[in-house]
């Protein structure tokens, strides 16, 4: 096969340049598995406690978050792990694979590196095939590591078959979305587009699953996430989702290779639009310039958040009806009249939405660092704008993004809840979302400190975001100590509507964020521009 000439050579080289990144990713994934198993084994040793958890999990709002409740009749630790850890794990592994594939295919093509490689006696498909091998290797390792961890750390309810199946569906979620990315890398002529399309597919699969898991079950099976979730390891150990996803991946990989073989270097199948001839007046201001840089991703994020808000909001409407028929839950609520299950779900979902809004606002700020790395920042700084104006513009845009996105999401979420006739005040939900803004600003503050003082380690902010997310999502479930939870700014935000609005928290977090931003600027002002 001439089109595969020197694939092995390129693959060995790819390993050489990728091993550290993959090691870090796999360590993160392993940590995710360890965290889940250990926490459940430690915290939920008591079957009665598990059973009451099972009851709490059995409603559309929780199913929207974690996935369709499985193994409820006998909610073992295995079932609990499978139910709560799977969907989020899939998303994590899919993100890893999407980034991996884009980095090793379209990014190198866009940078012109592929041109040099393909001018050597290497096959036309060698570079892409090497990326495919890397995708398979990484997810293969992920599957093996997860399986071993589950067997070693799991309790009696986590059998070998279930552990192997869990490992394999983890790997398959990476492979399926990696294969999707292989195709989008052929469709779009640039890395950013390829990545956004792949994340779009992931987001659509996630929302399809939410709607499917909370009612129209067929939709869940159409989503790769829902399909793989349907393997129900430790509960039923169904293998057919594995076979289907293998078939799907093979199909996608074949399509990608065929497209790659046919098309021109540097070309995408989707047309590029012609740009504007002149810069508008807005673009010439620093703020307008920043806005223009981040416009497209923000629009995509806005649409995604709108849909996420609506998906969660429309689901929460069903809860009440379901609660009326469920004696156990009625008893729980009756036992503690101050505590409404529904309000609790709402508070949790508002927290999740706030975390989601954190990502784009931090991306806006990190774009400052991205521009610097591409040596474009020096052109702006060498111009007439002071560093304060540049730094400030990115901060302001990022803060505006937070406020707008929080409004947009809470409106979408609350609006659809009201539309579904759930007894809730839209105003209350919006206020609850506003309460999260100071916490998000603290995250932005931490990011600006990194940019100002530790520019090379800026990506560490994502670890912090990940940590805050774990605290928020699993904090209650895992029973983590307060001092660890307290490291996340989100932990301090009052969970409205269960808790009261707190001016103290709002003021303290806001002041903290201002101090962090100022410290970040102090560093940025005096350091060298890369």
């Amino acid at each position: 096969m001439k089109s595969q000439a020197q694939t092995g050579h390129i693959f060995r080289f790819t390993l050489k340049k990728e091993w550290l990144k993959l090691l870090l990713w796999l360590t993160g994934c392993a940590f995710y598995v360890i965290m889940g198993v250990v926490a459940f084994v430690e915290v939920y040793g008591d079957p009665l406690e598990r059973q009451s958890m099972a009851v709490a999990m059995q409603n559309p709002a929780m199913e929207a978050l974690f996935g369709r409740a499985i193994g409820i009749d006998n909610y073992t630790i295995g079932a609990m792990y499978s139910h709560t850890m799977t969907i989020l794990g899939f998303v994590l592994f899919a993100v890893m694979s999407i980034l991996l594939v884009v980095r090793n295919t379209r990014s190198e093509e866009e940078d012109g590196i592929l041109e040099m490689i393909q001018a050597l006696p290497t096959g036309r498909l060698a570079h892409t095939t090497s990326a495919i091998l890397l995708l398979l290797l990484t997810n293969g390792l992920l599957a093996i590591i997860s399986t071993v961890l589950l067997i070693v750390l799991g309790d009696g309810s986590m059998g070998t078959e279930g552990a192997i199946l869990t490992g394999i569906v983890y790997g398959m979620s990476g492979i399926v979305f990696g294969s999707v990315t292989l195709v989008t890398a052929q469709l779009s002529s640039n890395a950013r587009g390829a990545m956004m399309m792949a994340f779009g597919v992931l987001g659509a699969s996630y929302m399809l699953r939410i709607v499917g898991d909370s009612g129209i079950e067929l939709l869940s099976w159409l989503s790769p996430l829902g399909l793989l979730y349907g393997s129900e390891p430790f509960v039923n150990n169904y293998w057919f989702p594995v076979w289907i996803s293998i078939g799907l991946s093979l199909l996608l990989i074949t399509i990608a290779l065929w497209l790659k073989h046919q098309r021109d270097m540097g070309a995408g199948l989707l047309p590029d639009r012609a740009g504007k001839r002149h810069a508008t007046a807005l673009l010439k201001t620093p703020m307008g310039f920043v806005l223009k840089l981040v416009k497209t991703p923000l629009v995509v994020w806005a649409i995604a958040m709108l849909l996420l808000g609506v998906s969660y909001g429309s689901v929460i409407g069903d809860v009440e009806g379901l609660l009326e028929g469920n004696e156990v839950i009625e008893q729980i609520i009756a036992a503690d009249p101050d505590l409404s299950m529904v309000d609790q779900f709402m508070a949790m979902i508002l927290g999740v939405l706030a975390m989601a809004a954190t990502i784009p606002s931090i991306q806006v700020l990190l774009r400052l660092r991205g521009e610097e790395k591409k040596n474009r920042l020096e052109k702006i700084i060498a111009g007439s704008h002071s560093r304060l104006v540049i730094f400030g513009s990115f901060i302001v845009v990022s803060v505006v993004v937070v406020v707008l996105f929080q409004l947009l999401q809470s409106f979408a979420f609350g609006g659809s809840a009201v539309f579904m006739d759930y007894d809730v005040l839209l105003r209350e939900i919006i206020v609850a979302a506003m309460a999260y803004i100071p916490a998000i600003l603290v995250m932005i503050g931490v990011a600006s400190v990194l940019i100002g003082w530790l520019p090379k380690l800026t990506s560490l902010i994502w670890l912090y975001v990940g940590f805050a997310f774990v605290v928020l999502y699993f904090g209650g479930l895992f029973d983590m100590p307060d001092f660890i939870n307290g490291l996340s700014p989100f932990y301090h935000v009052p969970e409205m509507p269960i808790e009261e609005w707190s001016w103290t928290v709002t003021t303290v977090l806001s002041l903290l964020s201002l101090v962090l931003m100022a410290v970040g600027y102090a560093g940025f002002r005096r350091r060298d521009i890369d």
Binding site: Q6, F13, A119, T122, D264
Partner: protein, 299 residues
Amino acid sequence: MTKLIEIKALEKSFGKTIALKNVSFEVNSGEIVGFIGPNGAGKSTTIRILLGLIRADAGTATIFGKDVWKESVDIHKRVAYVPGDVNLWPNLTGGQVIDLFLSMHGIKVDKQRKENLMKRFEFDPTKKCRAYSKGNRQKVALIAAFSADADLYIFDEPTSGLDPLQERVFQDCTREVLAKGASVLLSSHILSEVEQLCDKVAIIRQGEIVESGSLSDLRHLTRTQITFQTQEEIKGIEEQPYVHDLIREKEAIVFQLDADHLNEFLTFIQPYTVLKFESAPPKLEDLFMRHYETVKGGD
């Protein structure tokens, strides 16, 4: 002489943009051909078709008699390529990348020659690629190319980031591979470079080859700059059809003469007692400018 590169009636469009309308030229073995033309004329498109990176819509292109798209792997074993804009993996050193390229080339690497080239180009191979300037990244590709014993070297504006001294090193290296019997296709904007190195040129404009042939042949097609002075005042010279861009300086007259009308011109000025006569041979630049000007005129 065998034809190393043979391009016939190549066409290529990208969407609505027509990049190549009708491109035909050839490079014989042992020859160095300069490929020149304004930005966006289709030079890089042609080279990318030759390298099998993109596929022509119509026409044929062969290297060593093999189809450039179907048999690219075999062709590339004997070809070395240097693009104008070299991008490399930021976290590898220049030395690592050179070795990688050479190992993928499959040609036996002459270590001594590689070291020698690094010295001549004053290149530090121990730095990470992200720290290299444009010129240094280009040196990575040049050193890798010249270290390989290729039969054909394809250069796409290879010296666009180099300083004048390094440019000289490039020219020397090119002469050395030519002396060994290799052939070169050199796309360049630096006309003095093409003029010094190349036996033949092909000029491309708006996707079409507008001139091609040996430099000495092409000089007949162009104009010679004439500076002359006569004792008596000369009249009616402006009206002659072979006279262009005439300027009357203090004593002398300077103008561009259509090279194939030299004799008519000499007959015309003879009666006026010529005091001074200088003729500058046409430069490639003049040849080139004529085509640039028509582009501007076309707008």
